[in-house]
Each structure stands twice: as C-alpha cells, then as structure tokens.
C-alpha cells in the first residue's frame, strides 16, 4: 500500500502548534542557555564554565526547607509516620485540591504579603506552576486574536506561556529609563488607543508586581492610575505577584488586594492574581501555581481547566503540612528576605565598585543592570553584540534587555539568588575584568569614533544635499503646514 512513500507526509500532518515556533526557543535569547548547558560552571569540577545568571531561582534558603522536611516525616505519605494518610491521599484527584492544601496556601499568601490581606481558600485554583497559571488565565479571559497590554520590559516567557496555545497577543506599553521604567498614564493610554486603532480587542493589562525583570514594586499612585484605567475601560487586570514574598523592604510592596479592599468602588470581577511557590518558597520543582480571581466565572472555569495541570496529591499533602506550620513560614519568610537583602546588597555594591549601576530595586531575585556605557552602538544589535561577548568571553549567562522587549538597549537582567557566595564573587570578578578591558577599549574606540563621526557626518550632509535637493524646496515642505492637514 505504499507505506514507505507516505512516511514523509506524516510530519506535515501536524498542527501549527507542533510545527511552528511559538515556543520561542529559536530566538537568539536561547543561545545563552545553550552556552550554559554545554559548559556549566561548577565550583569543584569546571571553574571555567559559564555561570548561570539567567535563571530566577532562589537557592538561598534551601537548607531551611531541607531541615523542615527532615524534621517532619509525617508530612510525607511515604514515611512510617505519614503512611496512615496514604490511602486518603494516593487516589485523590479532585481538581479542587486537598482542602487542607488550599487553606494552607491561602494563609501563606496572606503572610507573604505582610499579613495585610486575607485570601479566601475557595477562590484558590491550582495550576501547573506559574507558567500554567498564566496560560489558564489567558484561556479564561481572552479569545484568540484578543490582546493584553503589558508594560515593558516584561518577562520573556510571557510570549510563550500566555500566547502560544491560547492565540492571545501581547502588546507592549513602553516604559523608559527616564521614569525609572515606571508605568505612565500617557503610555498606557497610547498603547490602548493604538490597539483600538488597529482594531484589536484589548482584553486587559498584564503586569508583574514586583516587576520581573526590574525588581521594583509598583507605587500607590501608579497603581491607582492603572486600576482606574482598567475599571473605566472595563478590561481585566492580571497581577503576577509571584515575587511578593521576595520583597526585601516589606513596607513598599502593595498588593492589588490591598487596593481593592481600600477602594470598594472598583469592579472586583476584573482582577486576577497569579501566584506560585517557585520563587517565594524556592520550590520550582514542586510545580505549584495558583490562580486567585475575584471573578466567580473565572474561578469556576480555571478550576475545571486545572485538570490539565494538577499538582500531585502527595506534593499537596506535603505542602499542606509545611505551609500550615505557622512558625516555620514566618521564620522562613523573614530569613529569606534577610538573605536576599544581604545578597542583593553585596552584589549591587560590588557592581558599583566596578562603576556599573543598576536600577534601584527592592524585590526579586535579580537586578536590572545598566551597561549602556559599554555599547558600541546604541541599538539592539549593539546590545546583542555586547551580550555575546558576555556569554562567550566573560562566560556569564545574563539576559539582554531586548529579550524583555525593553525599549532602550544596554540593560541586562542578572539573577543573583541561584548561586552560593563564592560563585557570586567569581561572577563579580569576571564582570570586573571585563569592565576594565571594555573601558580601555572604549577610550580607544572613542578616539576612533570621533574620527569616524566627522567623516560620516560630512558624508551625510553631502548626501542630503546631493541626492535630494528638492527636499529643500518650500513646495515639499508644505505638507507639514496645518492648513493642508486641516483640508485632509
């Protein structure tokens, strides 16, 4: 029957999702990961390897988790002490999740936000990590082709998590370093109007607070502006608060829940929170994501969709025990903040000594590093060129701002919490050597550049004059006149 001849056809029979590159892994951004994967740094066996500074993972407090698990064997259903719960847990596959787990999560989420807000366990929906939480919300809130606005720079995996299977689009709201990358009302409205002009249905705004990659928290005024905007336009707001427990300066973090409680006039149906234990508890391997929505329909829908990303009952059981241990969670959150603060301070002051500045930040597992001074040219290509040098020669996997859709070249996200002190110091030393070398180069370059510039400029002028002389004619300048515009 010609089986052989049909072999080739079969791969063409796949869907656009399988055949396309919506996974985004063909972008140059992943070269850094490949470089790391092929030659990972190891303090004992591979000192010359690439240090991973592109992964926002928190390894600073693993010892506390380890000690707790050792001290609480009853939390695991596979120890002698915990076996009694085995039968109840092993077959538990209800997508609502173990009640104890949801209660513990609600409690922990309140605590991670400084105890200022309370969460209702019945609104907590499980998902497969923060990744799954984003996707489920996108599935729930938007149709294929609809869009969400997102302030730039934003977490690059949103393009994949939020858009890949859902068919939803992300439209950037530009933020600039001159405002410390704060969201401004003008840009927000501009992005919205642009979308409307292009006939794109805007279904909401997606934001991370504390911001990934900036590590900043949103201030009250900006937040209120945003909230009134979404409330007025009747669009949704998804707050990704995945780093809410990783704020070193608690007084500064403002959760959307607090504002909602302060301002009862907002329509609560528009607000949704994505959360996860991957960052605040440092448990990404556990794949626990949370959707917390004030919208009943979304809760109901997301809960049914959660069967596509359920957390294993064994893990739920373990976490129910861990997170309901009040003493432990309080101690953990406080200690985690202390350690993060310390590491952040060491790292940023180390960079400062090298003459490298970072955006001032108070949260997260990373800093937003300003290398604009080292760019040969202030373009995306210039940034990527510098980035390749950092990957290949300096051997650090940092993430370039362009992968975060940053409007200005020269910014890099550097993660600092996924390594020990010694590795961090090695990384700092590498950056230092690199900076010294670059400074030398730049001084030389600047000399050369001055020369080049002169040459180029003269050429430009020549071109302008020689090739398009009619540009100078008043006739062609006239389209700018307001009269002509009015007649149009």
């Amino acid at each position: 029957m010609g089986y052989q001849s049909m072999r080739g056809n079969s791969s063409q029979l796949l869907s656009r999702i399988a055949a396309g590159d919506g996974h985004g892994e063909n972008s140059s951004y992943f070269d850094g990961w490949k470089a790391y994967d092929s030659n990972p740094f190891n303090p004992s066996s591979n000192l010359g390897g690439v240090i991973q500074m592109g992964l926002a993972e928190n390894l600073l407090c693993l010892d506390m988790i380890k000690d707790w698990i050792k001290e609480h064997p009853e939390a695991s259903i596979c120890t002698e002490q915990g076996l009694t719960d085995f039968e109840a847990v092993a077959n538990f596959q209800d997508y609502h999740g173990l009640p104890a787990f949801r209660q513990a999560l609600a409690k922990f989420m309140g605590k991670a936000r400084g105890g200022k807000v309370k969460f209702d366990p019945d609104r907590i929906v499980m998902s497969g990590g923060g990744t799954g939480a984003q996707e489920t919300l996108a599935f729930c809130l938007a149709n294929p082709g609809d869009a969400f606005l997102v302030p730039t720079p934003y977490y690059p995996a949103f393009d994949r998590d939020f858009c890949w299977r859902t068919g939803v689009r992300l439209l950037p709201i530009n933020c600039y370093s001159s405002d410390n990358f704060k969201l401004t009302k003008a840009e927000l409205e501009l992005a919205y109007e642009n979308a409307q002009r292009d006939n794109i249905t805007v279904k909401g705004v997606l934001m991370t607070n504390p911001s990934n990659p900036l590590g900043t928290t949103m201030d009250r005024d900006t937040f209120k502006t945003l909230l009134s905007f979404v409330n007025q336009k009747r669009i949704h707001l998804i707050c990704d608060e995945i780093f809410s427990g990783s704020v070193f300066n608690q007084s500064e973090f403002l959760s959307v829940c607090e504002l909602l409680e302060e301002e009862p006039s907002y329509d609560r149906n528009l607000f949704h929170i994505a959360y996860s234990l991957s960052k605040d508890m440092g448990l990404p391997g556990f794949r626990v994501g949370v959707i917390y929505s004030y919208n009943d329909a979304v809760v109901r829908c997301a809960r049914r969709m959660s069967s596509f990303g359920l957390v294993s009952s064994q893990t739920q059981h373990l976490l129910a025990h861990m997170l309901s241990d009040d003493d432990f969670t309080s101690e953990y959150l406080a200690e985690n903040k202390r350690r993060l603060h310390k590491r952040h301070g060491e790292f940023t002051s180390g960079l400062e000594k090298l003459g490298i500045k970072c955006l001032p930040s108070t949260a997260g597992l990373f800093v937003w590093m300003d290398l604009r001074q080292f760019l040969k040219e202030s373009t995306e290509n210039g940034e990527l060129e510098l980035w390749r040098v950092i990957i290949n020669d300096v051997k650090l996997n940092v993430s370039p701002g362009s992968s975060f859709r940053c409007t200005e070249p020269g910014w890099f996200r550097v993660c600092f919490a996924n390594m020990d002190d010694a590795t961090m110091h090695i990384a700092l030393r590498r950056i230092g050597d690199f900076a010294d070398k670059l400074k030398e180069d730049t001084t030389q370059m600047q000399n050369k550049k001055r020369f080049n510039k002169k040459l180029r400029l003269s050429f430009c002028r020549l071109n302008d004059g020689a090739i398009v002389p009619h540009l100078m004619s008043p006739h062609l300048l006239s389209p700018r006149s307001p009269l002509v515009k009015a007649s149009n």
Binding site: L13, S15, I69, N91, G128, T201, G282, P284, S312
Partner: protein, 652 residues
C-alpha cells in the same frame, strides 16, 4: 406533503445524531427503530403541514420580517421549535430542571454544539428559520381550518393566541437577555471573532440562534472569554460530571452517611492499595530525602527546576513499567516518551500537536465521557462519534469508520486522527490484533494519525484474554510508525491516581519535541517523580502487584456481574477495565435518550447509586450504563444489589 420540521436529511436513512449534531449512519435493525433519531419521537401534534412542496435547500437568513403576517407565522414556527427542543433535546430537559427558560435552552443547544459552525451545523440551525412554504398550518388546528371555523377562526384566532404566547415568553426572557448586552469587556464589539463573544443582536426577536458560545451562560458575569464561558457553564452538558458532583456532595459512608450515594461512576482502583502501602512501608524508608540510604536524594534535585517533560530517570522507569504491564511484548524507548501530570493533559497536548482548531478525530463510540472535555475544550478539535452496536458487542467496524470519514469530509471537516481506547472504555474489552491491523491500514490509507489510549493496559481480568498494544502490532507488521501515538498513565494500573503521571509515547520525533515543550504547562512535581522512580524500578514488586491486582479484579468483576445478573441486568462481555457495561434498557419507560435520562435520575435519587449513562458516552442505544466496581469492597456488593432493587423491582 407532510414534512417533519426541524432536522431533515435528503436521505431518510441518515438521521442526525442529535447528541453530537453529526450525521451518523444507523443501520435500521429490525428491533431498533433509531431511538435517538430526533424525528421519530416528535409528538404528532408538532408535525407541520406545508402546502406547496418546500424546497429543502432554501435558506432564509433574513431575520427582519417583511410584513406582519409573515412575522406571525414565523413566530408560530419558533414556538414549534421550542417545543421540539424541549421534547427531544437532552440539554433542554436538564436545563429545565435547573430552571432555564426555554428559548435559552435553544440557545444553549445551538451554541453548545457549534464550536465552529460547520456547514452542517449551519444547515441544521438555519433550517428552522427557513420560511420557504407559503402556507403552513399547525396540525392540531387542522380541524379548525378545514371545518367549522372558517378562515377567520381557523387562522387568525390561533395565530393571535400564539402571538400572545410569544409575547409572554419574550417578557419572561427579557431580564436574562438584557444582561449580556450591558457594557462589559465581553460585549465590546469584536471585529475579529464576532461569533463567540458578540452580544445578542438587537433584532427584537426573543429567540437568538446565534451559535455563540458567549451566550451559553447568561447568568454568569460576562467579562470572560468565550472559552471560559463554555467551560464555566454549569455542568448541564454531561451527566457524567453531574453524577460525580452529586455523588461527592452526598457520598456514601458505611458509618457517617449510610444513605449516601454509592459511587459507581469513577474508574478508580481501590482493590490493591494495600500492596503499595506494604511496599512503601518496606522500601521507601528515607521518604523524600533518603535519610540513611547511600543514594540519598539531595534537596537540590527535589526543589529546583527539573526538565518539564519529566526526569530521564523517571522516563526510564516508566518505560520499564510499561514494558512489564504489556508483559514484555514491547520495549518502549524512554526518548520517545514525554511525561505529563496525568493522562488528561497528555491527551490534550497530543491533540494540540496533531490537530488545528476545527479539525476532527473519529472516535468509535461509546467512548470515555471525559474526552469531550479533555480534548475539545481548549484545542478546538471536534470529536466525531462512530457508533458501535450492541449486536457486535460494541466492536469497531472499519466499514462504519469509512462511512463516517466520508461523511465528515463531505461536511468539510478535516479528519486528523482516529482515537481509540484499548482496552475500551466504557465497554471494557481488549481489541484484537486483527482490529488493530485494520485500523492501522485505515489510518495509513487515509494518511491520518492513530491515537491509542492504553491506560487500562495492565487491568485485564479476562481469563483467556491477552492485551495487545498497538506498539506490538507495529513492531511485527512494519507499518509506518510516525502516525501512531500511545497515551498511557499510571493512575489506573497503579492505585495512585492522585500522583498525576501521564505518558505520551510517540514514534514521531516532531510530536515528541513539541509535546516536551508543551509539557511546561503540565509537569509532574519533583517529589512525586523521586518516589515513583524507586517504586517503578522495583520490577519484582511491579510484577507481583500486577498479578495480584488482576486476580482481585477478576474476582470482583465476576462477583459484580453475577450480582447484576441475578437482578436481571445483563452486561456486555468484557475482559478488562474497572467497570462493566450494563444493559438496563428494560427499566427505561420510553426507549429513548429521555427514558435513559429518567432512569439515571431515578438511580441517583431513589437507588442512590451513581452510574454513568450511555448518552454521556455517546452510545446510540439507550439504556446502557457503566458501573465501576473497583471502588467497592466485596461486602458492598449486597448493598448495591439492595439499592438497585429499589429501581428494578419498584413500580415501573
């Protein structure tokens, strides 16, 4: 000429299966007068007479009435449609229970069934609108028309009557309709995708036939996506889920709630949990962190980011376990495996990889009721049931498959795969090697995929039967492998449903690569992976477990089937799975979907047992129920018998 209004097919032998709105071929057996074909159970009162022969192709998309007379007529016809829906449509019956008004029910059905309104859907939903015939008279009024009343009484009076009824309905319906059109994100006009979320058009008609999923749940807050609206609507669509939910709310417990509902609807194995417990006690000492064992699991391997598609060690362990389950007949390559958190996401991810929205799978029915949700919802893939008959013991017929394929093609549906369960669910038998070869030939000839769901591969209880995996057939037949995909999960063969481990095994590299990337949305948590690696690698334990479990299954199966037989309930021959497929058709009053639904309701409220009705499995013969027996103990069986007697021996 008398025309059966509503759904009509040029060839009367091919009625529409109302439950799926797809044309299915139902050979007219001597005993079975197409019980679920909607037109056979219309009350005679709803027949309409059309004077000049109506042209079946005439379509009327124009909703604005040109003159008042016509408007009245159309309203009469709308009224008819509503009645018909109420009597023939499963959804309407349920929603009536839930207090929905009738016109909404019509909407619900239309929107439920038309994810992507295929030509066929358009036809069936627009047919009632067509006003081709100039004179249409309602049969019960025939006497008035032809006889005593004369023209005035005969036509004007009844028309006015219906007109007022219509007004009444309209007013009753208004509050629920005004809501979706209130200013809200959902109701913002959507230029790109008008059908799913556009607000009801302000045509003034009380019945909207927009095949819009956005209108499914008129009471819900409207500011969600149409997908959400479809997903978040109350569980009216499938009795499978309604039953599970009601059982959960009032679950039987021999001490706490002795009059609660007994769960026979959940395919979950509790027969052999003690074996796993024993293993944990003996072998899994160090729990998560290992403790004294030399191969101590470090905290780093537990909490940090792991490969999304499962750790290599677990893939190796799962491949070995599958090999043991299939009794060594096939060896699985760990590199062709993607692990997900449960077979549900495994099936969804595979569907995402194989089909684009609007494509379809052919599925021999009755099939597992969860697929409607797992596959169709987010992927936009259609499932086309291919009916199997009780006279063939529900085995798959290639001829029927062939016809369904051609029919679907005619409707403009692109078939991307044949989806089978082996062992079958809910009918519970293993597919023969010959059937598998035929299926492989079929998919190769049509150049489509074959998805084989083998989650019950290790749960065989028949004496003589041996499970044959499609992988085994492939090895021996030398057929192109890249179109064959196997779904597996450990939730059935091991009593660890809560652990959520699903497997995609594919011979197609592109599918493996793509689904490994998609697995980022559905990964297994690391502690569970660690535990399972050691459990599944213990080959001695696994082989002991599988053997003892099969013995227990066999015993439980025969006890349960015998108990049913004593009640006079026969089951289809089965040799695998946690359930039997029971023929309860003699206890249903009307041999129809409605009768089956009533019996299901009675079983749930009177007998207080939750069984899965055939209609939620898309079985075309009414009266079949799936009963899972693995959640019971032997002592529970007499109780189930007692409960069932309330229905079987009660007044019919």
């Amino acid at each position: 000429m008398i025309l059966l209004d509503g759904i009509w097919h040029p060839s009367s032998k091919i009625p529409f299966d109302h439950s799926s709105l797809s044309p299915v071929i139902i050979p007219r057996g001597p005993k079975n007068p197409n019980p679920r074909a909607p037109h056979t159970i219309f009350p005679p009162a709803l027949l309409t007479i059309s004077a000049p022969s109506p042209s079946p192709n005439q379509q009327d998309n124009n909703n604005t009435p040109q003159n008042p007379k016509k408007k009245k007529k159309r309203q009469i016809r709308k009224k008819n449609i509503i009645h018909k829906t109420a009597t023939t449509n499963p959804q309407s019956a349920i929603s009536q229970i839930h207090g929905d008004s009738l016109p909404l029910t019509q909407m619900t059905r239309a929107s439920r069934d038309s994810d992507n309104s295929t030509p066929e859907h358009n036809r069936s939903s627009s047919r009632p609108k067509s006003d081709g015939p100039e004179m249409r008279i309602i049969v019960p009024l025939q006497g008035v028309v032809q006889g005593r009343g004369g023209l005035v009484l005969g036509s004007l009076l009844p028309c006015a009557l219906f007109y007022f009824l219509q007004l009444y309905l309209k007013s009753r319906n208004r509050p629920s309709q005004s809501r979706p059109s209130s200013p809200s994100p959902l109701s913002t006009p959507n230029d790109h995708n008008p059908s799913p979320s556009s607000p009801p058009s302000a045509s003034g008609s009380s019945i909207h036939r927009t095949p819009s999923r956005g209108l499914l749940s008129p009471r819900a807050h409207p500011s969600v996506s149409s997908r959400a609206a479809a997903v978040a609507r109350p569980d009216e669509d499938s009795l499978y889920y309604v039953g599970l939910k009601r059982c959960l709310e009032d679950a039987y417990h021999w001490v706490d709630n002795p009059d609660g509902i007994i769960q026979l609807g959940l395919a979950e194995n509790r027969l052999s949990q003690d074996l796993v417990l024993d293993w944990l006690e003996k072998k899994a000492h160090g729990a998560l962190l290992g403790g004294e064992r030399p191969d101590e699991l470090s905290i780093m391997g537990l909490t940090t980011y792991q490969p999304f598609d499962g750790s290599n060690n677990l893939k190796i362990a799962v491949a070995g376990f599958m090999n043991q389950v299939m009794q060594g007949s096939v060896s699985f390559d760990p590199s062709q495996i993607v692990l997900t958190c449960g077979a549900t996401p495994a099936m969804e991810i595979l569907s995402f990889c194989i089909a684009d929205p609007g494509n379809a799978f052919l599925v021999p029915s009755p099939y597992y009721p969860g697929w409607d949700r797992d596959i169709k919802w987010r992927t936009g893939v259609e499932l086309v049931p291919v009916p199997c008959r009780s006279t063939d013991n529900f085995s798959i017929s290639i001829a029927v498959l062939e016809r369904a394929y051609t029919q679907a093609k005619k409707r403009g549906l692109k078939i991307r795969a044949v989806l089978i369960a082996n062992p079958t669910n809910p009918t519970g038998h293993v597919l023969s090697r010959e059937t598998l070869i035929d299926l492989l030939d079929f998919v190769t000839e049509k150049n489509i995929h074959l998805i084989s769901d083998e989650v019950f591969a290790g749960s065989i209880h028949g004496d003589q039967s041996k499970f044959v995996s499609v992988a085994e057939v492939l090895e021996s037949e030398g057929i192109d492998k890249t179109r064959v995909h196997i779904i597996y999960g450990i939730s059935k063969d091991l009593p660890l449903a809560g652990f959520r481990v699903g497997v995609i095994h594919s011979y197609n590299d592109t599918v493996i690569v793509a689904s490994a990337k998609l697995a980022r949305f559905s990964s297994i948590s690391a502690p569970t992976q660690q535990l399972l690696i050691s459990m599944l690698s213990d080959m001695q334990f696994i082989s002991d477990y599988l053997e003892v479990n099969q013995q227990r299954l066999r015993r439980m199966h025969s006890l349960f089937v015998d108990a049913l037989k004593q009640l006079g309930i026969k089951c289809a021959n089965s040799n695998a799975g946690f359930y039997c497929w029971a023929d309860m058709s003699r206890y249903i009053k009307s041999y129809s979907e409605k009768g089956e639904r009533k019996l299901w309701e009675k079983l749930l409220t009177v007998a207080k047992v939750n069984m899965t009705p055939g209609l939620s499995c898309h079985c075309i013969e009414p009266g079949w129920f799936r009963c899972c027996f693995t959640t019971l103990t032997e002592e529970d069986i007499p109780l189930v018998v007692e409960r069932l007697k309330r229905v079987t021996q009660g007044p019919k």
